[in-house]
Symmetry: C2
């Protein structure tokens, strides 16, 4: 970087950040980068509260724009997932200026709504990766360290192992991708390796999401699908009869989409970085 300190702005486009996160993240960043500690600024909006969300739609959208359009920031980091990014994505994209295109954007899960919209809008440093709130997971320091390593140094060891900088990639929570297909947020994923993960859904819902995703004409143009981890699967009544990998292979076969095996992503501390694009 041409300046002394890498500067990261954190914004919560969905649910409210847990209040202990900023201190823990700052302390980890100091330990990891004693000589060049990145400046990690949590927008005050992260701790706002309005019903389900970290502040109302206008507050969350404006907080994102405050950081994305401020030239002093090098990266916009999603505070956490939860739910609510779809409500602000269109107004955020409308409000972004040229400055915003020069920085990195990292998050996953619900944040995928905005990662998709940014990638569609031509942003080129958009990545699926850990959020600040991941520091609260068991082993969460490693997840946050990985996100920082990609933002600060684009460290190759932070990447999902099959990402090679040549083939195009994209990664999503499958429920989120399902819910952005056909909306103004949907990017062109033709020719991409598409990695999908899930959390907290019953097996029949995973099956239904994969029906929806693999039946979409845009998605049928991907170069292949990889399945990340599906964790905290809720009970299926009766037993579904197939596991998540069998389900993904079934729908790939039906759709004529190449099945490319497992991806090292998921709602856990091992969640690796997947940049959108080559």
């Amino acid at each position: 970087m041409s300046k002394e300190k890498y500067k990261i702005g954190v914004v919560a486009t969905a649910s409210r950040l847990s209040p202990e996160v900023p201190t823990r993240v700052a302390s980890l960043a100091e330990r990891l980068y004693p000589e060049r500690t990145p400046d990690i600024v949590f927008h005050p909006q992260c701790l706002s509260s309005r019903g389900h969300f970290a502040g109302d739609d206008e507050t969350r959208a404006q907080a994102f724009l405050d950081i994305a359009n401020d030239g002093s920031y090098d990266a916009v980091w999603f505070a956490r997932g939860g739910y609510g990014t779809c409500r602000v994505a269109e107004s955020v994209v409308r409000g972004l200026t040229e400055t915003s295109k020069r920085k990195a954007y990292v998050g996953y899960s619900d944040a995928g709504m905005l990662l998709a919209a940014l990638y569609r809008a031509g942003f080129r440093a958009v990545a699926h990766g850990p959020v600040a709130q991941d520091i609260l997971r068991d082993g969460g320091d490693a997840a946050v360290a990985r996100a920082l390593a990609w933002m600060v140094d684009r460290a190759p060891e932070s990447l999902e192992p099959t990402v090679d900088g040549v083939k195009k990639t994209a990664a999503f929570n499958m429920t989120i991708l399902s819910h952005l297909l056909g909306t103004p947020l949907e990017p062109d994923l033709g020719g991409h390796v598409l990695m999908l993960e899930e959390v907290g859904e019953a097996m029949y819902r995973i099956d239904r999401s994969l029906f929806h995703i693999t039946s979409n004409a845009n998605i049928r143009r991907v170069s292949g699908i990889m399945l990340g981890r599906c964790s905290n699967i809720t009970p299926n009544e009766p037993n579904f009869g197939m596991n998540e990998e069998e389900i993904a292979q079934y729908w790939c076969r039906r759709a004529g989409i190449p099945w490319l095996g497992r991806a090292d992503i998921g709602h856990d501390a091992d969640n690796k970085i997947v940049p959108f694009g080559p």
Copy 2:
């Protein structure tokens, strides 16, 4: 009808029928129509079981075609919802013959996947309405009586009160509609009054489904949205801050879709008939 008895075939395209349903439905039909009891034939497949489903995909698709393509049947009645119709819808539509176009099709919830595909394929007696399994609900006799009254006599009192036979209508469970948008099952709903109901979802999921539905270009061409009942809403953590009607109005406003108020449909014994089309 030109023949003596109206003949209804029941098929389970999703989950397995409860074994006590056929006897209870037959007994109700005899009480309701002592002089002209409809012949209600439950395809043996209804009681099949394969993992989550009432038999494997091929068995369920073939059972549907057995009845739909048999000229002796006047109506195809969905045994129940659950999950699995999306897996058979495309092969069913491929296998339907001219004979199948002359009969009525009644169901809702998961069956919406196939109602949509049939309507898209030009079928003109497709209706959202009670399934056979509804007889197990409190007051379920009334629900089944209503489905029979529409199938046997097209009884006007079975209809959702705003259905007038002039304006075009369609009705769906919102999760099901969300998951068929962008697939080969999606019908053209331009100019239709679209009625949506939900069951067993948290408020944030209702919000997300309505984001997805109302952000779709095809859906934005409907003449308006009516909200049916949203029952058994699961807890939202934290409190969502809006109820389902406020959510529906919010998304209609954002999408420029006329909000037309409440519809008399839902996962309950009061669920009224909504024909697809005029």
